[in-house]
Symmetry: C2
Subunit: 113 residues, 2 copies
DNA sequence: ACGGCATGCAAGCACTGGGTTGCAGGTCAG
DNA sequence: CTGACCTGCAACCCAGTGCTTGCATGCCGT
């Protein structure tokens, strides 16, 4: 059991990484096929360097992984990391709901007596 | 082909909202009990106004809801919105995995023949 | 009515982060 | 070797935003 890290710092970082439009565009591409920074730069409306920074960040938080192929570096989106995050968020969300419903129960009890 | 909303703009906003440490601290409190901005300001190391802005944002993206109680406004964390997001992320994550594994299958097929 | 506490509205400030351009260094094909 | 292409590093710009302080306003209890 997760002791109760409640809000592991990595969740924040991960969410922050996913809180950018451009990065989602990149991930949308990397989700269907691996691609290099230059390759992505051709399809997206931002410079290669900007994309390189995004890829660096995505790799750091585990949403993508790099792989050298000679002179180029290809990236792929990692679904595992995303589903992992999804699990954590769902757990937390359910936690909020149960606690609140419990409060509601208490309120009902009080008003019933 | 974009039939799948894939990346609904709200996902980005939601993730961006969750990409801030302070907002998680706020949500951590609101997940267990409703509280007002002033109340939160006493427990957290930031000013009331800063918290008020965060609450405003959280309410906008649906992660919290406001409720007037006379002179004060109390907020609660909404788990529903979070689990909803979790579902979407999991779906997307699985999508990436299946596509990539399919590519791997193709690669195996090719190398086998 | 009045003092205290809560919210709301600004104005302002410093920092972060997404973006760009420019240049140097590798690597592959001809 | 040479040219074309890709990557990596660095400096820089600029808008967004997280926080603050200050003041005006509004509700509650005594």
């Amino acid at each position: 059991m997760t002791a109760s890290p409640a809000v592991d710092g990595s969740i924040v970082e991960l969410c922050a990484a996913l809180g950018d439009e451009t990065r989602w565009q990149i991930l949308a591409v990397l989700g269907s096929r691996a691609a290099s920074a230059s390759e992505l730069a051709r399809q997206l409306p931002v410079s290669r360097q900007a994309i390189a920074k995004h890829l660096e960040l995505l790799a750091q938080v585990g949403l993508a992984d790099r792989e050298r192929a000679g002179r180029e570096v290809r990236y792929r989106a990692l679904g595992a990391r995303l589903t992992e995050l999804a699990d954590q968020l769902e757990t937390i969300g359910r936690g909020w709901e149960t606690r609140l419903s419990r409060l509601k129960d208490v309120a009902e009890q009080l008003s019933r007596e």
